[in-house]
Amino acid sequence: MSDLILESPALPLRTQRRPRRIRLGASLAIGFLTLVIVAALAPQLFAHGDPLAIVPRDAFHPPGWAHWFGTDQSGRDIYSRVIHGARLSLFVGLAATALAMSIAIVLGLLGGLGGLRTDRGVGWLLEILFAFPSLVLALLFVAIFGSGIGPLIIATGLGAAPGYARMVRGQVLAVRNAGYIEAARALGHPTRRIIWRQLLPNAMRPLIVTLTMGVGQAIVWASALSFLGLGARPPTPEWGTMLSMGRDFIANAWWLTFFPGLFIVLTTLSTTVAGRYLQQRLEGRLT
């Protein structure tokens, strides 16, 4: 057999792609996120000080050369605390999003693949979760399990889960009717393999971007809960907790609240901007 192929060439291959311009906003966001991630993994690279070291005579130092972000009421270095806090905030954000996504995948698959009744049941459950203010839900959890990192993650994850579950369900419904799912059935693949190898990965693809943004959102939520005293307990360096502690001194020592707050805002903003950028990049390639 020769490799004779007499095909008419398709439309001229478009080689001229637009020059890849990483926009300023996206590169700043990605840069900042990288710093936060490094700070989370190895805080001692940025801050040599001990975030918990109490030096009473250095209390309420305004930002300066010795203490870049100033010190708090116990004389702890806020810069070190913010840097060390990145680990916890980021961990809570990631863990909560992962938890939310796991719940969402289970519920979404049940709704999208189960029968009419299961789907309706899942729908009701989601509506109840939606109708329930996440804050009240979180309070409920804290009331049951006490405050701490674990309940904080669970509460934040549960609050985010219904939104993701709806998206997963919609995606599953769309993907299950795709031609390649039927082709896989016709090939004789077992249903379980089709779900894991084709349905779920394809359904999740458009959610990657949402997840990136969701991490930022979860950090805000977790910080809010910590701010209310429902999360990490002081003196743990956690951005929300630091905000909460600084609140009492906001009139005289703005830096106690300003810097942790700034990092919450910048981190969330960066995940959103980076997520958008990712979305634009992926949309060009997918479909």
Partner: protein, 570 residues
């Protein structure tokens, strides 16, 4: 109506340095019809679009002369163009489904053209809309004008689109693939409408990939290949004495004109022989009294398939032909065991395969036999997981066939070779392949498990004629090499005639005729088959004039969209 001449001299279109159309010249006299024929990528649509100033973003249109009457089409500003489009030059777009606003009644769509150009007053415009719909053969125009495009059948949508192009009686009508994707009888009706437009004195520029379609209409033909005119002449001359080999290969590729067992594409000699149904072969797939019902959104039960029987014997091809909505795809899905039957049973390799109620077969029971039956779809791209490369797609199929991972790589190379694709393609994604290459990959996947039966659901309907010819030849070769049996579904009688040993003609879910292929085409018994055969556009050299079948009420409205229904049913 104005009577102007369209003069095109030395037209070239460039996209970012790529020459898509090169040095094209023709003259279209008033009242004449010119056909631009070529395959995808030949530049025919771009040519048509540059004649209405819509060549596309980044296009550089150059010509020595581009003139319609006394209008210089090269010098018009955007504002001037808007006045010309619709009024002087009407344009019928290719895809009626996407070209009509799904949220607006079609009457409004036509009305808009009249309003934009400030034609008449309110009352006369309303009357004009109905008159136009009537002129293009839309039954009950007052009712149809109020319906949205989604509620109309493909043929009616195309008519509505033509009506909007005709709204202002332009002297020149450009129709880009006006009948592509339509059923044979509907296609014949649309060609009838275009013939009537021509008879009323408009000039017509028709763009098509199918010489047989334009043969009925055109006075003159331009054959385009890779943006260049390879042949230009009167319809009669091009059909009877084509000068360029490409034109000849286009004519040769029309399957209806060629007997079974002859090659459609140039190159290799025939690998198969013409055959009659052979009853001595074992029956592989056996269907008795197949039936399928759906409950529509209006709670009405629709019998989509009703009492279909067939036997598919080893090494044979059973063709199922019918128009959209005839239930042929539903039959294919039941034959594949992907859709449970409501009545009747299917047996595969003497095992129960599909049935209902007591005879219900669980998927687990079917799984052992799955590797003996496979499927090729009309749209291969959507049947591939978008994340996978060609190699991964084939590896996935080999997994089912029980081929261990280390043995897969040589098998993939062999499969690609069997479908005449270079082995390097394994690393590419289907998105980067041409339509014909994608279908070859789908065929490679279908033969990966060494099946006995392949169900082919409109496998060549989305391909250019010459590519279609190559794919049909490939299927014939594989049948001869591997002894495959095909259940071949198509709306295209020409294709069905070319590939089948036996043919089922389906209509409204029922088999109206079942006969060996020669008998069916030589002496069709059922009036519906006769009508279907009459509607096939053929080259005039075959000596048959196009018969325009009457518009049937069931062709007018979309009774149901089969594909949408079975998706809900999964």
């Amino acid at each position: 109506m104005s009577h102007k001449t369209l003069i095109v001299e030395g037209l070239s279109v460039e996209f970012a340095g790529q020459n898509v159309v090169r040095n094209l010249s023709f003259t279209l006299e008033p009242g004449k019809t010119l056909a631009l024929v070529g395959e995808s990528g030949s530049g025919k649509s771009v040519t048509a679009r540059s004649l209405i100033g819509l060549a596309g973003e980044g296009a550089q249109v150059r010509a020595r002369r581009l003139q319609y009457g006394d209008l210089d089409l090269l010098a018009l500003s955007d504002r001037q163009w808007r006045r010309v489009r619709g009024k002087d030059i009407g344009f019928v777009l290719q895809d009626a489904l996407v070209s009509l606003d799904p949220l607006r009644p079609v009457g409004k769509e036509i009305l808009e053209v009249l309003q934009t150009h400030g034609w008449g007053d309110r009352a006369s415009r309303a009357a004009r809309v109905l008159q136009l719909l009537e002129r293009v053969g839309v039954p009950e125009p007052a009712l149809r004008a109020r319906q949205r495009s989604g509620e109309l059948s493909g043929g009616l949508r195309q008519r509505a689109l033509i009506a909007s192009a005709l709204a202002l009686d332009p002297g020149l009508v450009i129709a880009d693939e006006p009948t592509t994707a339509l059923d044979a009888t509907v296609q014949a009706q649309i060609l009838g409408v275009l013939q009537a437009i021509k008879a009323q004195g408009s000039s017509l520029l028709i763009i098509s990939h199918d010489l047989a379609v334009v043969a009925q209409l055109a006075d003159e033909v331009l054959v385009l290949q890779h943006g260049e005119v390879v042949e230009q002449g009167s319809m009669h001359q091009v059909l009877t004495a084509p000068r360029h080999p490409y034109t000849r290969s286009l004519l040769d590729a029309v399957p209806a004109e060629h007997e079974r067992g002859t090659r459609l594409s140039p190159g290799q000699p025939a690998a198969t022989l013409a055959r009659a149904p052979r009853l001595d072969q074992p029956v592989l797939l056996h269907a008795r009294g197949l039936g399928k019902r759906y409950v529509g959104p209006d709670q009405q039960v629709r019998q989509v398939v009703d009492g279909v029987d067939f036997e598919l014997r080893a090494g044979q091809t059973l063709g199922i032909v019918g128009e959209s909505g005839s239930g042929k795809t539903t039959v294919a899905r039941m034959a594949l065991g992907l859709l449970e039957t409501d009545d009747g049973q299917v047996r595969f390799l003497d095992q129960p395969w599909n049935g209902s109620a007591d005879a219900r077969v669980a998927e687990i029971q079917r799984r052992a036999l799955r590797r003996d039956i496979s499927v090729i779809y009309q749209d291969p791209l959507s049947s591939f997981d978008p994340r996978w490369s060609v190699g991964q797609i084939l590896a996935d199929a080999l997994d089912v066939a029980g081929i261990a991972v280390p043995d897969q790589a040589p098998r993939i190379r062999h499969l690609l070779q069997q479908v005449r694709l270079p082995a390097e393609l394994a690393t590419r994604r289907p998105l980067q392949l041409s339509g014909g290459q994608r279908q070859r990959v789908a065929i490679a996947r279908a033969i990966a498990s060494n099946p006995k039966v392949i169900v082919c659901d409109e496998p060549v309907s989305a391909l250019d004629v010459s590519v279609q010819a190559q794919v049909l030849d490939l299927l014939a070769d594989l049948q001869a090499e591997l002894g495959l049996a095909y259940l071949f579904i198509s709306h295209d009688l020409g294709v069905i005639r070319h590939v089948s040993d036996e043919v089922l003609v389906m209509r409204h879910g029922q088999v109206v005729e079942h006969a060996p292929v020669e008998q069916l085409f030589e002496s069709p018994q059922h009036p519906y088959t006769q009508r279907l055969l009459g509607a096939v556009p053929r080259l005039p050299s075959a000596g048959v004039a196009l018969q325009v079948p009457p518009l049937e009420p069931e062709n007018a409205v979309l009774l149901f969209d089969e594909s949408r229904l079975w998706k809900i049913a999964i």
